[in-house]
């Protein structure tokens, strides 16, 4: 927090002149770091990487880096996100005049994120985690001259540091109970400590992953940060929250008792449904994407919880499938969400708008960006031909097949979980159709959208790399097959049944069921081509086409105001989920003085705030404020009193450590 506040004002003078060299350097360094991360991560998964100990870097314990397949997986994933973001940042920083400090911190942030999964000891992990949190905070505050950015930054700072406190205590308990600092050397942990570590780490890592109810920073910080930073945070940093849960709760302490699975399943389910509901009614493009992140992290957490629960109930094949779904969805989410945020950043840079109600008509002005965002939206919708399809299919399959196990708890929870996933996917389609259809198609709803111009080459190049990842996952998810096998082999919940049949046709291990995204894509492509050819062939027999104006119900022309807006598109859903979303609407009618039957003006105001945040946060904040008021009584401003406190403290330490 202090770091951000002291460094931030220095960026102001730099924003006046363009920084071409700096942006190129920062972008290239970021991409190179990402490429190195991918390379080392792949090495860690398919070969062995020697652990690295640097004793002098951190006092007492030193820095210890060790990579196993799980760490390598997250390292490669983070690196994979950093490559397109680095390229994109070159053009974005030039166009948006990013200051020197955000440009300098961008590679530091990526390096810190790469260190987190590479850390082999508790101390190193904590140092890397805090470095990542501080770097991201500085990046969120890049445009600190706007008050919304400052308020988002404050929210993010408080939540990330509270999360860090929970993680710090949890990992210290783990380290003390396990009797070692290095992960590999940790011994068995007694039950009480195990529970405490689970509760603390799930709270801490869950807040980083944006799980409800600790998600409130996400829809504030992601929209206000510069878009490459939003992409890094949403596609890479939140994954590391999941990494923390997988590493500490499912691997080191795993597979865990069944109530752990149940807790993860419930948190994940609530996050997924709540996140997607907020995404469907959001009108800010980046806020929508941020809530979609909560949704997807919820789905992943559900899959982790399901794997734990099924492994405990003895259903090992569904457990493996659920774990595979979680890991595959992490990859898919990283691909489509980085692309989504980058494309939203292009829109923001070209139009200065994030409000879907004022966008539109971008398909003509920015065809490449529109196509790329369409790929991202298709991936996020979880439909066939989208990046998220294979993983969501696996999750549903694991849940459906687990229902047949003779275990009361599983039989009770699984139908609810299937319902939650189905609702999430369905609403996700609505949210993404809204983002793409309202934001990019039809006619521009404002001058800014009408004057948009296409993003520069480096930005398009960065987005194209991310889009290639999306298409690959959508058409040929088998490229992730060997990676999944290596990662699953290292996880206690999933290593009893191997996921070997992950090829062009994905066959579930030990169960009936298969799907082939590649074949679906090929079939659809063939159908489209044949339809086009047939239409061409038949069009020869028809009369010549005539160009006519659009049908406007007999009126002269259509205006952009006649179009569907994001708000009106989501209105039916908002009505259905009124009790959850709690929209705040207000209609004010001013009557004419002569008659009550004539209206002079009608004012309509509608706002949907985060209901969870509004309900749960104010009591906590009030309690903290009250506690601070109590503590303040001891802080009178008298130096003598403070000296006395110091002396008393030293005395207590001496007595205790005697």
């Amino acid at each position: 927090m202090t770091a951000a506040l002291t460094t931030a004002p220095a960026t102001a003078p730099n924003t006046v002149h363009g920084n071409g060299f700096g942006s190129a350097t920062a972008g290239i360094v970021t991409s190179c770091l990402g490429a190195a991360g991918v390379w080392v991560g792949l090495l860690a998964m398919f070969a062995t990487v020697r652990p690295l100990h640097i004793g002098w870097l951190v006092p007492l314990s030193g820095v210890y880096l060790a990579l196993d397949p799980l760490g390598g997986f997250f390292l490669a994933l983070t690196g994979g996100v950093a490559i397109p973001v680095g390229l994109y940042a070159i053009g974005y920083a030039r166009r948006e005049q990013l200051g020197r400090i955000p440009l300098a911190v961008l590679p530091v942030f990526v390096a810190a994120m790469l260190l987190v999964p590479a850390a082999g000891s508790v101390t190193t992990f904590l140092v890397a985690w805090e470095l990542m949190a501080l770097a991201s905070l500085i990046l969120v505050l890049a445009e600190h001259t706007r008050s919304e950015v400052r308020s988002a930054g404050l929210m993010y700072a408080v939540m990330t540091q509270l999360g860090f406190v929970a993680i710090l205590i949890g990992l210290m308990v783990l380290s003390a109970a396990g009797g070692a600092d290095r992960f590999a050397a940790l011994g068995p942990v007694p039950d009480g400590a195990r529970m405490a570590v689970f509760a603390l780490t799930v709270a801490g890592f869950g807040s980083k992953a944006g799980l409800v109810p600790l998600h409130a920073w996400l829809p504030r910080a992601h929209p206000e940060a510069p878009s490459p930073v939003s992409a890094l945070m949403s596609a890479a940093m939140v994954n590391l929250g999941i990494y923390g849960i997988v590493r500490f709760d499912l691997q080191i302490l795993g597979p865990g008792p069944r109530w752990w699975g149940l807790v993860l399943l419930v948190i994940g389910g609530v996050s997924a449904v709540y996140g997607v509901l907020q995404a469907t009614v959001a009108t800010d493009l980046k806020r929508l994407l941020a809530y979609s992140t909560t949704e997807n992290m919820g789905l992943i957490t559900m899959a982790l919880g399901a794997a734990t629960l099924f492994a405990d109930a003895g259903a090992h094949a569904p457990a493996t499938i659920a774990m595979a779904a979680a890991m595959l969805h992490l990859v898919a989410h990283a691909a489509f969400k980085s692309l989504g945020f980058l494309a939203a950043g292009s829109v923001l840079a070209a139009t200065g708008l994030r409000d879907l109600d004022r966008l539109g008509g971008l398909a003509r002005k920015m065809p490449a960006t529109t196509l790329l965002f369409g790929l991202a939206a298709l991936g996020a919708a979880g439909l066939p031909l989208g990046a998220g399809f294979a993983s969501e299919w696996l999750l549903i399959q694991s849940l459906i097949h687990a229902a047949s196990t003779h275990d009361t708890l599983v039989a009770l929870t699984v139908p609810l979980a299937v319902g939650a996933v189905a609702l999430t996917t369905g609403l996700g389609v609505a949210a993404m159709v809204k983002a793409f259809g309202i934001g990019f198609l039809a006619r521009p709803r404002s001058v800014g959208a009408a004057d948009a111009r296409e993003a520069p080459g480096t930005m398009l190049a960065g987005m194209t790399i991310a889009a290639a990842g999306c298409v690959m996952l959508a058409v040929a998810p088998m490229v992730a097959g060997p990676v999944l096998q290596r990662v699953l082999a290292g996880l206690p919940a999933a290593n009893l049944v191997g996921f070997s049949d992950f090829g062009a046709v994905i066959r579930l291990p030990g169960l009936s069921g298969s799907v082939s995204p590649g074949l679906i894509a090929a079939g659809l492509a063939a159908a489209v081509v044949s339809a086009v050819v047939l239409a061409r062939w038949r069009s020869r027999q028809r009369p010549k086409p005539v160009a006519l104006p659009l049908w406007a119900c007999g009126a002269d022309d259509l205006t952009p105001r006649m179009q569907y807006t994001a708000t009106s598109f989501a209105e039916p859903l908002q009505r259905v989920f009124d009790d959850v979303l709690r929209p705040d609407t207000d209609i004010e009618v001013t009557h004419l003085a002569e008659s009550r039957y004539m209206a002079e003006a009608i004012t309509y105001r509608a706002e949907i705030a985060d209901a969870v945040e509004q309900r749960t946060y104010p009591p906590v904040i009030r309690a903290v404020t009250a506690a601070a008021g109590l503590v303040r009584r001891a802080h009178t401003g008298s130096v003598h009193l403070y000296l006395a406190y110091g002396g008393l403290g030293v005395l207590i330490v001496l007595v205790v450590s005697r």
Binding site: P543, V546, L548, P549, W551, A552, G554, A555, D556
Partner: protein, 159 residues
């Protein structure tokens, strides 16, 4: 499944169909027994509309002869225009005719549509339908009876 048998036994309760009228033209869509109609009220007193709603009601049931009302000229083969054309409706009428795919048929329904009728000298009147857009089929009457309208529609659907 008793209700299916009931339907088959009872059949449809409609007036007996008259013998098929002389065809006025080839069916515009190229298919006999199918005419999708968009109704345009260019300035009618709503007398014709009352008769038209009877035409498509259960008693006269024009749909059994293949005529059907649709919600947009983009879906239509023909327009059924009622009333004298007022100044305000002249442009919308032209736009609607332009928006109807060709080959199309324009049916003017009622005396006002044919020759301005009782509104001949009113200040808001531009002219009869035939003075604004080309008319293919005419249905005289003030208002025309449902039987007249059905006969005109059948002369177009050919059924």
């Amino acid at each position: 499944m008793g209700w299916i048998g009931k339907i088959l036994r009872v059949g449809r309760v409609v007036e007996r169909a008259d013998p098929r009228p002389e065809p006025a033209m080839d069916p515009p869509a190229g298919v006999r027994g199918s005419l999708q109609i968009r109704h345009v009220d260019a300035g009618s007193c709503n007398g014709c509309e009352v008769e038209i709603s009877a035409v498509f009601g259960p008693v006269y049931d024009a749909e059994r002869f293949g005529a059907r009302l649709v919600a947009s000229p983009r879906h239509a083969d023909g327009l059924l225009v009622t009333g004298v054309v007022t100044h305000n409706m002249a442009d919308p009428l032209r736009n609607t005719v332009a928006a109807t795919p060709q080959p199309r048929v324009v049916i003017a329904c009622g005396d006002c549509a044919l020759n301005r009728g009782v509104f001949r000298d009113a200040y808001g009147v531009l002219g009869a339908v035939g003075e604004v857009v080309p008319v293919d089929v005419e249905i005289p009457g003030c208002p025309p009876t449902p039987t007249d309208i059905i006969e005109a529609l059948r002369s177009v659907t050919g059924k």
